[in-house]
């Protein structure tokens, strides 16, 4: 198999997927997928339903184990050998397609739970919030514009606010790589604008992969785009390059 990826582990990019395949009951969800993400890069992933976008995230975060292929993080960490909590601890955070926050907790407690720190049961029992932690929490609340709702139950937030809270939880985790699945689904135009601003701010000091269907939003982000189709990369490059690719128009954008 020909591969443009560097052979030496330390030269690998931050995220390195090479020749990854996975099947569910004979259906090839991911088919010989190769994708490389440099440190500090933000990448948008587009593609029709069933293209394997969410499955790819499942593989990176340890929820699904690939049948074949290499998945390396930070050069040397073989992600196929670890489970979800371990991978989260390495510094990969994930926002789900459907906003998944802890509904019966307050906004503040949601962030507190996500806050970077020890993860053992004993450490949680003896945990006392430090001043540093409280300041970080205030900062995140400011960033995601939920300061006024910090004591409200997450269940009572609007859909868009839940999306932001989940992004805020990602920030609290302070991962090296953020995987963000459909951040603007169900958002108003104003909220979408706001989210673009938020993601650009995050991308300044994090590596980010964003999966999104909203082409307007992807254009606003102005980053390199990868189009997936039937579990492998169909086209990659600037949005203009990808959206003028005849195969992409064929399967995804429509004529």
């Amino acid at each position: 198999m020909t591969s443009i990826a560097p052979a030496r582990a330390e030269d690998r990019p931050l995220l390195y997927l090479d020749g990854v395949s996975v099947s569910f009951d004979g259906f090839r969800a991911i088919n010989n997928l190769s994708l490389y993400l440099e440190k500090g890069e933000m990448r948008a992933i587009i593609g029709p339903n069933g293209a394997g976008k969410t499955t790819m995230m499942d593989i990176i975060t340890g929820k699904t184990r690939p049948d074949r292929g290499d998945v390396f993080f930070n050069g040397t960490i073989d992600l196929t050998q670890h489970d979800e909590p371990a991978i989260a601890t390495f510094g990969i955070g994930r926002k789900f397609q459907k906003p998944t926050v802890f509904e019966s907790h307050t906004v503040e407690d949601n962030l507190l739970l996500a806050m970077k720190g020890k993860r053992s049961v004993v450490a949680q029992f003896f945990h006392v919030s430090s001043r540093h932690e409280r300041e970080a929490l205030d900062g995140i609340l400011e960033t995601i514009r939920l300061t006024g709702r910090r004591a409200d139950q997450a269940a009572n937030l609007s859909h868009g606010q839940k999306q932001w809270l989940e992004i805020g939880m990602l920030l609290a985790q302070d991962p090296k790589l953020l995987l963000i699945d459909e951040p603007v689904a169900g958002m108003t135009d104003a909220e979408t604008e706001e989210t673009v601003r938020l993601l650009k701010e995050i991308a300044r000091d994090h590596s980010v992969i964003v999966v999104e269907h909203d082409m307007h939003f992807v254009r606003e982000l102005g980053v390199k785009v990868t189009c997936l189709h039937e579990g492998s990369v169909l086209s990659e490059g600037t949005l203009d390059h990808v959206s003028n690719d005849s195969r992409v128009i064929e399967v995804y954008l429509g004529r």
Binding site: R94, E103, S104, H105
Partner: protein
């Protein structure tokens, strides 16, 4: 560090509960022992062990609520931990009988003589010492919960399936303890106790002391549970209850969170069982019956799960009603119990405590509450 964490358990509400239980631990024995018979304020003799029994049930319901209300583990086998604690205490009490049994054998309990055993089995060794028996009261249920939880939670068994295997666990123990060969008195269990720590279990003073011990242990268990649920661990437990798989992506291991709660809960249930046995005077395999464990779930549901005070109120209330009904209308009790469960499920899904605290009090804004904890038995679609 530990004292600091425990102090967190003594917040405003917990202080009231502890104060109330300590007051009961002093006043009930004092009234029973010091006031002359016939005095209107005297707690009658029969009522002391009965109330002590209610407090043991309350402790069991509290233990269940720690895993059900806060961690989403609907255990239908918590009676097993209670019974194991009870058996450990029963074994100590059997050894205290000495040669005063029917057969007068100084080394063997009556049922072993009856079975023609000539020596004490290895697992009965040490139970003549109070400290060892008390250790076993906590270790045996805790160990069972640890082994059971280790396999169940690591295999990611949740929801209804977990409930069913907890039920199977208590049923298996029921069958095992029925066997004479097990060496726990078979069908008859352990009974005819004489002394506890040198004092007659029948004596008024002992009964009063056992009541006080039950109230104080319930208070201690309440403080421990309160310290847990008011810590960040408590918040994490609720997060695991509501969205277990989400916590994994934050780097937590929910199986260990559940394992911790399950073991703590089993130990509390074991202590409750140990206090129960000398007050009722018998422990037999019937305590393992699945129906008993289901009844505990009803107590917690009636009182209000997801609060620590709810299951205590529920256990006491339902058992007071049970005491009344089984005397006044013995045939109607199970209908009343079932009816109560249906009523609470339909009209007070958060139990009595949830119903009261959800009401709008004058001068206080209405609390917004969600039903996030209600579908605990439903397997999460994310699994």
């Amino acid at each position: 560090m530990i004292s600091q964490a425990l102090l967190r358990g003594l917040n405003g509400k917990a202080m009231w509960v502890v104060a109330l239980l300590v007051a009961a631990a002093i006043l009930v024995p004092a009234s029973n022992l010091l006031l002359p018979a016939g005095h209107p304020l005297r707690v009658p003799n029969y009522l002391v062990p009965l109330m002590g029994k209610y407090l043991c049930y309350a402790m069991l319901a509290l233990a269940l609520d720690l895993v059900w209300g806060y961690c989403g583990i609907l255990s239908l086998g918590h009676g097993a931990f209670f019974a194991l604690g009870g058996y450990a205490m029963g074994m100590y009490l059997m050894r205290q009988i000495g040669d005063r049994g029917v057969y007068g054998n100084p080394d063997l309990p009556d049922f072993m003589v009856f079975l023609n055993w000539d020596a004490l089995p290895w697992y009965w060794q040490g139970f003549d010492m109070f400290w060892f028996a008390m250790l076993m009261v906590m270790v045996v249920p805790g160990l069972l919960a640890f082994v059971f939880g280790w396999f169940a939670f690591r295999s990611r068994v949740t929801g209804v399936y977990l409930s069913i295997i907890t039920q199977a666990m208590t049923y298996a123990l029921l069958l095992a303890f029925f066997r004479n060969d097990m060496g726990f008195g078979g069908n008859n269990g352990l009974t005819d106790f004489k002394d506890i720590l040198g004092a007659s279990v029948q004596a008024g003073g002992t009964r009063a002391a056992l009541f006080a011990a039950s109230a104080l242990m319930l208070a201690a268990a309440f403080v421990v549970c309160s310290a847990i649920v008011n810590s960040k661990l408590g918040k994490l437990m609720i997060a695991v209850r509501d969205a277990e798989s989400r916590t994994r992506f934050l780097g937590f291991r929910p199986e260990y969170v559940k394992l911790f709660a399950f073991v703590v809960s089993a130990v509390i249930a074991g202590i409750a069982g140990a206090l129960y046995v000398p007050q009722v005077g018998i422990i037999n395999p019937g305590e393992f019956a699945p129906a008993n464990s289901i009844e505990v779930v009803i107590w917690a549901a009636v009182g209000g799960r997801g609060s620590l005070i709810g299951p205590i109120i529920g256990a006491i209330l339902v058992n007071v009603m049970k005491s009344y009904f089984t005397v006044a209308y013995p045939n109607l009790w199970l209908f009343a119990l079932g009816g109560m469960f249906v009523f609470v499920t339909l009209f007070m899904p958060k139990g009595i405590v949830g119903f009261l605290s959800g009401r709008r009090w004058p001068g206080r804004p209405a609390r917004t509450t969600t039903d996030a904890g209600l579908d605990t038995a439903k397997p999460s679609p994310a699994e």
